[in-house]
Amino acid sequence: MSVIVPGPRAAEKIDRLAELAALSEERGGSLWQEAFARLRRNPMAIIGAVIILLFVILAIVGPFLVPYSPTAQTWRDEVSIAREAFPGPRAENLLGVDALGRDFFSRLVIGARQTLLVGVVATLLGFAVGALLGAVAGGAAGLGGRRGAWIDNILMRFTDVLLALPSLLLALSIAAVLGRSLTTLMIAVGVVQIPVFARLLRGSMIAQAHSDYVLAGTALGVRKPKLVLGHIVPNSLGPVIVQATLTLATAIIEAAALSFLGLGNPDPSTPEWGVMLADAQQFLGVRPDWAFYPAAGIIITALGFTLFGEALREALDPKLRK
C-alpha cells in the first residue's frame, strides 16, 4: 500500500475544505453558538476577553506570583514620611515601596483579587435579584391580564425608587447603614444594579410576550408559567447577559470608589485598588505613580469588560445577524 503524500497544492485544497467544513459547522447550532462564532471574529471581543482573562488569572494565581507578602512592612526603616523619602523602583521592589514600607508591586497584584471578588459577587447579586423581579414583573405584565398589570406596577415602582437615587449615594447609604465590611460592600454595589436588570428583563419580556410564538404556544394550550419560563425568558435573556458584562465594569469602579471613600474592607492593610488610591492621595505630589498603577488597573479591567460586553451585544443583535 502506498502512502499518498499530499503535494503543496493538495495541502492547500485540504485546508480550504477544512475551512469550509468549519464554516458550515458554524452556521449550525443555537443562537449562542452562532453568537460565539461571531464573537471570535471580532477583534474588540478578543481584546476584551484577553484583558478579562489576564485579570482573572492575576486574581487567582496572584499569591504565587508575588515576591513578598503584601501586608508585611519589611522596609519600614527605609521609609520616612516626614522627609518624604520612599525607595523607588529597584531590583528588590519592582515598583518601589509604599508609605508604610510594603512592597508596592505585591500589593498591586493582590489588590486585583478583592476588586474581582466584589465586582463579580455584586454583579451576580444584582443579576439574580434583578432578573427575578424582572421575570415576575415581565411575566405578569405580558400575560397576567389586569391582576398582572397591578403586580407589575408595584414591582416597577419599587425599582423606580431605587433608580431615582444616584447609584453611588445609594450604595454609600447602604454601606453606612449595614456597617463596614466586605459583605456590605458587595451588597451595596449589587443592590444598585437590581433596578437596571429588572427593568431590562421586564422590557424585553413584554416585547416577547406579543410575539407570534407566544400566541402559537397559547393556541396549543401551553400554560402561562411554562410560556413565561420556557419561552419568553430564554428569548429575553440576551440583553440582560450583555448588561451583566457591562455591569461588571461599573461594579468594579463602584467597589473601588466605595473603598476609596473608606467603606470597604475594615482591615486597612488588605490591598485593594480603591484603598490604594485613597492612600496615594496624600502623597500625590511626591509619588504620583502610587495613584497611577491602581487607577490604571481599574480602568483597564473596566475597559476589558466593557469591550467584551459591547462585542457580545453586537454578536447577539438580531439586526446584525444574517
Partner: protein
C-alpha cells in the same frame, strides 16, 4: 349536529376616542366533522380575527366578542379560561401564517413538539421524544430524530411549517384552524403543505377551517367556501358553485383577478376597483357597493340580507343585484391553479 356552529359572531375593537371598529360583523357558518371549510377574503375582511375569536385568543381589553360559538355542544365564547386552555391544542388547534415567527427561535424543535405532548397527553422523556419523531415523520420531515435537535432557523420555510403542523396535530384535534398556512411559503412548497393538510384531514374526523386570501388554495381542498367582505359573509356555497357559478360580484371579481393559464396571451387581469378602505358601513347599504360594477340604487338603501338561491344546491349570497346564473359561462373564469382534485 355540526361540530362547530358559529352564529352571529361579532367582534368589535374599541379605540380610545375613536369610533369602534366592527372587524367581524355577524358571521355565521358551521363545520361538520371531517369537513374542510374555507374562509376567503382580502386583507382586513375579518378572516384572522374570526379564527382568533374562535380560539379565544383575542385580547380581553377593548375587544367585544358577541354571538355564539358552539363547539361540540360547548359554548366557546363563555367558557372559562382554564377549560379553554385545556381545549386548545387538544381539541382545537391552530396553524399560523408565518412559521418562522411562530416557532420559538431559542428552543429546539424537539422541545417545542414534546411540550404539547406533555401538556395534553402526559407523555414524558423517551416516550415523548419517540412520539415527537413519529409526528415529524408523519408530516413529512425527513430524518426526524436528528431534526428534533435542530433550531427553527436551521429548517427551511416548508419544514418549519411542517413542524408547526406536527405540533397542531399532535393530539389529533377535532378541529384544525389554518390561518393562511401557505402565505409565507413559495409556490411549490405551498402545494406540498396543502397536500399534507389534505392528507392529515382526509380519512380522519378532523375538521379543517382554511383561512386564506388565495382562491387557488381553497380550490384544492375546501368543500364549502365562505367568502367574507368587510366582516360579513357575502357568499357561502360549495366549492363547485363558488368557482362555476358565483353570484356575488365580489366573488366574481376575486376570480377575475387571478391569473389564468388558459387566458389569451397578453390579456390583462381584471382587478377589483378601489381598495378595502373604500367600504361603506353595512348599515348604510352594501359595503362592496363603492367598488362594485353592478351597483344599483337599491344597493345603497339599507343592508342587504344573506339570501338563499331559489334553485340548485345550497347557495347563499348577500346581494340585491347578483350576477345572473346564465351569464356565468362567459363571465366567470375557470380556475386552473387547482392543486389536484
Amino acid at each position: 349536529m355540526a361540530l362547530l356552529d358559529v352564529r352571529d359572531l361579532t367582534v368589535v375593537f374599541g379605540r380610545r376616542g375613536q369610533r369602534p371598529v366592527r372587524a367581524v360583523d355577524g358571521v355565521s357558518f358551521s363545520v361538520d366533522s371531517g369537513q374542510v371549510v374555507g374562509l376567503v377574503g382580502e386583507s382586513g375582511c375579518g378572516k384572522s380575527v374570526t379564527s382568533l375569536a374562535l380560539m379565544g385568543l383575542l385580547p380581553k381589553r377593548a375587544v367585544k366578542v358577541t354571538g355564539s360559538v358552539m363547539f361540540d355542544g360547548m359554548p366557546l365564547l363563555t367558557m372559562d379560561e382554564r377549560s379553554m386552555r385545556d381545549l386548545r391544542g387538544r381539541d382545537i388547534a391552530m396553524i399560523f401564517q408565518d412559521p418562522l415567527s411562530s416557532l420559538n427561535p431559542v428552543v429546539s424543535i424537539g422541545t417545542q413538539v414534546t411540550e404539547v405532548l406533555l401538556r395534553h397527553r402526559g407523555l414524558k422523556g423517551e416516550a415523548a421524544r419517540k412520539e415527537a419523531a413519529n409526528l415529524l415523520d408523519r408530516v413529512g420531515i425527513p430524518d426526524p430524530v436528528r431534526r428534533l435537535k435542530d433550531y427553527p432557523h436551521q429548517l427551511s420555510g416548508g419544514m418549519r411549517q411542517r413542524a408547526l403542523i406536527a405540533m397542531a396535530v399532535a393530539c389529533r384535534p377535532r378541529l384544525l384552524i389554518a390561518d393562511e398556512p401557505t402565505t409565507a411559503l413559495d409556490v411549490t412548497i405551498q402545494a406540498q403543505i396543502l397536500e399534507l393538510l389534505k392528507d392529515l384531514v382526509s380519512g380522519s374526523d378532523t375538521a379543517l377551517i382554511l383561512i386564506t386570501h388565495d382562491l387557488g388554495v381553497v380550490a384544492g381542498i375546501c368543500e364549502t367556501i365562505n367568502v367574507l367582505y368587510a366582516g360579513r359573509v357575502v357568499e357561502a356555497t360549495d366549492r363547485r358553485q363558488t368557482f362555476a357559478a358565483p353570484r356575488h360580484p365580489y366573488t366574481v371579481g376575486l376570480l377575475g383577478s387571478i391569473p389564468r393559464l388558459d387566458a389569451v396571451r397578453g390579456e390583462k387581469l381584471t382587478p377589483i376597483r378601489g381598495s378595502v378602505r373604500d367600504v361603506l358601513a353595512w348599515s348604510d347599504g352594501c359595503a362592496f357597493a363603492p367598488r362594485c360594477d353592478r351597483r344599483i340604487d337599491q344597493c345603497l338603501q339599507g343592508p342587504p340580507e344573506l339570501v338563499d338561491a331559489a334553485t340548485g344546491p345550497p347557495h347563499r349570497f348577500r346581494c340585491v343585484n347578483p350576477v345572473p346564473k346564465d351569464q356565468l359561462d362567459q363571465g366567470a373564469p375557470t380556475l386552473v391553479t387547482e392543486v389536484s382534485p
